[in-house]
């Protein structure tokens, strides 16, 4: 038997495979397809202080090996999460984390504080990188000063695992990673979506109601992998890698580049069972390559 268990600081994952926020609903949507307890963890939809209707239709466009989305953090707000959703999902035998978003620092702080009270939520993922909201969102993740501020304030009220999700739409992602590490982040996850756009040549209209949106899927994988590799070398906290992972081979590449855990996003839409297939595929890879502990693969890229 191979060991798949990894640790994000004190947070134990039975295996390195998590699913990405906004692509996995509240987990329940996948309960028909997989046993959620087979996952290392999953991250629920972006949750904000108050109810948000999200952006108008159309919110999605297909692109070469990927998609653009402009959902815009549609959610019923953190109170609804705590009262209605949490009771339904709290007993899944895996790490259920909440993706926390906001447009002002106070919102992040209040949301995080409320989630801090939920016993069965071992951590939050602070989303300072959403490209689909007018105010805040990505702006926090594109300058060190604002990234520092929001992490510092949230850290004051949030006592459990604080993962910070970074934006790829920056000149130097390592400086942002170091900035949030400096304010007490327990781990960083990357990448969120790349800012992109699509136009329908026939109608001359943008394909998204918001004109620009977030690009995800295998098309972004080379950029994601590069950033994970750069950040893993720059920070001391664990790195969670994502962006275009479609299969176990992709997942292994992120781990070799330095990711302690990985997240599956867009791939869930195409194959709702892909996350558990990837757990199995990583195990097969380890057996084939005679690696008994997954931790031996983390950052094990061979640069000789």
């Amino acid at each position: 038997m191979v060991n798949l268990e990894v640790k994000l600081k004190d947070l134990v994952l039975k295996n390195p495979v998590m699913t990405a926020s906004g692509t996995f609903g509240f987990g329940e949507e996948f309960a028909d397809f997989i046993d959620l307890s087979d996952l290392g963890g999953f991250i629920v939809k972006g949750t904000t202080r108050h109810h948000r209707e999200g952006n108008p239709y159309p919110r999605m466009a297909e692109t070469a090996s990927g998609m653009l989305n402009a959902v815009g953090l549609q959610n019923k707000g953190v109170e609804n999460f705590c009262n209605d959703i949490y009771p339904r999902i709290k007993d899944y035998k895996t790490n259920v984390m909440v993706n926390v978003s906001g447009s002002v620092v106070g919102d992040y702080v209040e949301t995080a504080a409320m989630i801090n009270e939920l016993d069965h939520i071992p951590g939050i993922e602070l989303n300072i990188s959403c490209p689909n909201v007018k105010e805040g969102g990505m702006a926090f993740g594109t300058s060190c000063a604002s990234a520092e501020e929001v992490v510092r304030e949230v850290r004051k009220v949030y006592k459990k695992h604080l993962m910070v999700k970074l934006s790829p739409n920056v000149t130097d992602i390592t400086s942002i990673a170091k900035a949030v590490e400096g304010q007490g982040a327990d781990s960083v996850s990357l990448i969120n979506t790349l800012l992109g756009m699509a136009i329908d040549a026939e109608t001359r209209k943008p394909l998204l109601s918001t004109v620009t949106g977030g690009l995800s899927g295998p098309c972004v994988k080379p950029v994601a992998l590069r950033m994970v590799w750069q950040v893993a070398q720059a920070v001391g906290i664990p790195v969670v890698g994502l962006g275009g992972i479609m299969n176990a081979k992709d997942a292994i590449e992120f781990i070799l580049a330095g990711a302690t855990a990985i997240q599956i996003g867009t791939a869930n839409f195409i194959d709702p069972q892909v996350s558990v297939k990837i757990v199995k595929g990583i195990e097969d890879y380890m057996i084939r390559h005679k690696v008994s502990d997954i931790n031996d693969l983390i950052g094990a890229i061979s640069l000789a």
Binding site: G22, T23, F24, G25, E29, F30, D32, F33, K45, E53, G54, P56, Y57, P58, R59, M60, A61, E62, T63, A64, S65, G66, M67, N69, V71, Q74, G217, T266, N268, F269, I270, D271, P272, Q273
Partner: protein, 254 residues
Amino acid sequence: MKKLIQDFELIKYKELNCEHFVLDIKAKEALPEILPGQFVNVKVDNNSSVFLRRPLSIHNVDYERNVIQLFVKRVGEGTKSLGELKIGDTLSVVYPLGNAFSIPKNAKTLLIGGGCGVAPLLYLSKFLHQAGNEVTIILGVRSAHDSVSLEAYKPYGRVLVTTEDGSQGEKGYPTQHSVLTNESFDYSFTCGPEPMMKAVAAYSKANDVTCEVSLENMMACGFGACLCCVTDTKKGNKCVCTEGPIFNIKDLKW
């Protein structure tokens, strides 16, 4: 209803006209219960520019042979490539997705379909017929050449046709058919181009007919995980893939 992901085998391909074709796909296992109005989400493997699955209504179900029928219109790369599959090819299908049309009892029902919007109406007419309803189906097409497979509907009700060029049935759009003025109905069900559905909705409102429409939308997942497929309703944004695709027009802002 439990959703499944399964491999189906293409067992029959029928070209209807230059735009439309019907696929018969067969599962290895027994099919789960499938309701009229529900859809499947299929993976297109034979085209490099298609990334996401493609949603298609369930046109008909044959439980005995584990066969689902899909009625497809070629509009872009994905649907074109589905039409190029060979018999024996495998198709990955996520299903059954979405809600269903309501099935009244012993009522006068009107089904109006245009273009590939006829897709869900065949299976629906079967259910309506079985529940003892009087079923009238109006299929609107461009010309006689496009009106196809009418026979399939006949066991379940009266089939009327409108053609834009008058080459078969009445001339005009399906919503202009004389039966709409000459008779009255309790329920209407429609699927097709939005302008047509809106015309059916307007007619239904004016005549106090309960009306359900099948909406389309850009979908990434098809089962409620991505929130990409919302439509703006009187109760806020609703997911077309889980809270639809069937909507009662009283909930829409139409």
